[in-house]
Amino acid sequence: MALYNFKKITVVPSAKDFIDLTLSKTQRKTPTVIHKHYQIHRIRHFYMRKVKYTQQNYHDRLTQILTDFPKLDDIHPFYADLMNVLYDKDHYKLALGQINIAKNLIDNVAKDYVRLMKYGDSLYRCKQLKRAALGRMCTIIKRQKQSLEYLEQVRQHLSRLPTIDPNTRTLLLCGYPNVGKSSFINKVTRADVEVQPYAFTTKSLFVGHMDYKYLRWQVVDTPGILDHPLEDRNTIEMQAITALAHLRAAVLYMMDVSEQCGHSLQEQVDLFRNIKPLFANKPLIIVANKCDVKRIAELPEESQKIFETFEAEGFSVIETSTLTEEGVIQVKTEACDRLLAHRVDTKMKGNKVNEVLNRLHLAMPTKRDDKERLPFIPEGAVARKKRMEVDTPKRKLERDLELELGDDYILDLQKYWDLMNSSEKYDKIPEIWEGHNILDYIDPDIMRKLEELEKEEELREAAGEYDSEPESEDEEMMEIRRLAQQIREKKKLKILQSKEKDTRGPRMPRTAKKVQRKVLEKEMTDLGLDMTNKDDAHYVRRSRSVTRKRKRDESETPKSTARSRSSSRTPRDVSGLRDEKMVKKVKIMAKKAQKKMNRLGRKGEADRHIYDLKPKHLLAGKRKSGKTQRR
């Protein structure tokens, strides 16, 4: 069931504010610049837009008001009646009607003036039309001033009404003023209603909530009712009557036995009789409040009889005192139980129940044999329960021991250990040995496994696995090894020598260099050959005469003419020169020519390479001194 929430109604502006709002909005949101020389359709469109915009704003706002305010026919009759009581149904409907009419009138005005604007032929005419339209709309709203004010007040009051759910479990408190209804609700719920000695402290309905049997209950506190006919009742009392009439609740009729409220018991009984028709179909409890002042038993006989008649009629009477809280809970439980029962009854009588009942089925297990199966309670639980009742002294705790010993106390948890031999409790247990965890080796079977291992080990030793083998090397092998070692060393030396040579660039072939006799002979002696007496070996260099003689012996004449010419050709450095003097001079000249080349570091005549194309001293810096003829 949706809670009636009247807090979401939009604010109803006053007439003046409404007009200001809409007009300023029109000015802000529509274009403002227009000139005489614009095309006429543009001018017309401009002003038509303004008129339509204003109309739309008014229309929207008014429609919103109309939809937000609740329609008295559509809401729960309790609220409809309450609103009637508070705001007068006719007035309310009238106000809303007026608003509706205003809305329609505004629409018509706008339509008319837009039609007229089509025939406007100048800026001035269109502007006047717009002014007229807007003016008329604002006048309409001005005339609605009263309605708008009224609706705003209604809205404010509505939003402050307590949210009473008419369909849920409710307890209704009623009775004369000052009997203790508000005190009761304060006691039972978390509501904080004003309690004062004067009558009509509570002027409207108040709601409090409480929990009972895991359900939420509403408790409604009403203003006090006086005893006069319905027509004479004022608004405040009417609220209470409305609540009584429409809410399906358990009624708690509060009576003041001590007559401190200012009304006699008889008056209260009379009131009860008068409003009894309102209690039809509602569980009723008569609450005799303020019993701490006067109890029913202390009353005179006739008064007591009244209560007996009540009991006879079937209404339970309960004595309470909100001051001492006596009987309050009793009232509450009884009221709630009776209401629940009543509600269940009503539901059972209704139509929807059958659908639900058809689907429910309570399964009872059938007995399979006659064995009695009692609930099982373990011994420990029974013992504990007994102990709790008897309150025997508990066993001595560590805490008690600590308090006893004071400073000497040492926490010794080892005494609680449960070992095979209790004498071993205070042993220092080793954990690590040589990088191994002892816990990893712990095994009850360890001795057996160790024996097996030892046996295996013996077998292996017997098989000779662990004997170290003798060095089975004969002399020949040792000789070979020694030689191999020497060979390797020699190789390394050769590699080192070749690394030390440090040749870079093109290398001369080995045959270009002449091998020296001493080196050769040394090498060969190292290798074991006999190099003595090798003076006439073929590799020894002889003087020229010997070679020449040899040559001449072998061949007398040159083999070709080319060869002979070559021997008679003059050498290049003396060709074309007459005598010795000239040769000397030429030599000097050649050297002189070479000097420049050497100085410039040139490889030859054709070497034109410039090492420094852009010398810094010429190209950088300011033009301080020097010429700029060339760079």
Binding site: I432, G435, N437, I442, M477, K491, G528
Partner: protein, 163 residues
């Protein structure tokens, strides 16, 4: 207090050393030093890092299966303390350790023996191929030949004289 094993190098982690890393799937990795930790973070496989025990066992450089390894096993059910059991265990541990070391050493020695054969063969080859670096092949042969010839002549002369 336990001595744990490093996940990467399988070395011992004494209390107060190393780093423990817990992954999102609740697997715990312990490292003895930052070297192992950093290698792990680089996602290197310990079975391929030559200095780890995992590599050595995976590539057969060390003894893997043996009865003496069955003694050291992490047990999940704790045994209540009994003095003689603990004493016996400590003695057994010492003996088992001895045997384990012996067997491991033997295994490694056997592995290394093979290289000796190979080295022998290499020496012989070396000498055969490169003996010319030390000695000329026919170093003393002329002299030998000469001596032989001289001897032969002498013998011939002797024979002639005889006959």
């Amino acid at each position: 207090m336990r001595i744990e094993k490093c996940y990467f190098c399988s070395g011992p982690i004494y209390p107060g050393h190393g780093v423990m890393f817990v992954r999102n799937d609740c697997k715990i990795f312990r490292f003895c030093k930052s070297k192992c930790h950093r290698n792990f973070k680089k996602k290197r496989n310990p079975r391929k890092m030559r200095w780890t025990k995992a590599f050595r066992k995976a590539s057969g450089k060390e003894l893997t299966v043996d009865n003496s390894f069955e003694f050291e096993k992490r047990r999940n059910e704790p045994v209540k303390y009994q003095r003689e059991l603990w004493n016996k265990t400590v003695d057994a541990m010492k003996r088992v350790e001895e045997i384990k070391q012996k067997r491991q050493a033997r295994y490694i020695m056997n592995r290394l023996k093979k290289s000796k054969e190979l080295q022998k063969a290499e020496d012989i080859k070396e000498v055969k191929q490169n003996i010319h670096l030390l000695r000329a092949p026919h170093a003393g042969t002329p002299k030998q030949l000469e001596d032989k010839m001289v001897q032969k002549l002498q013998e011939d002369v002797a024979m002639e004289e005889d006959s």
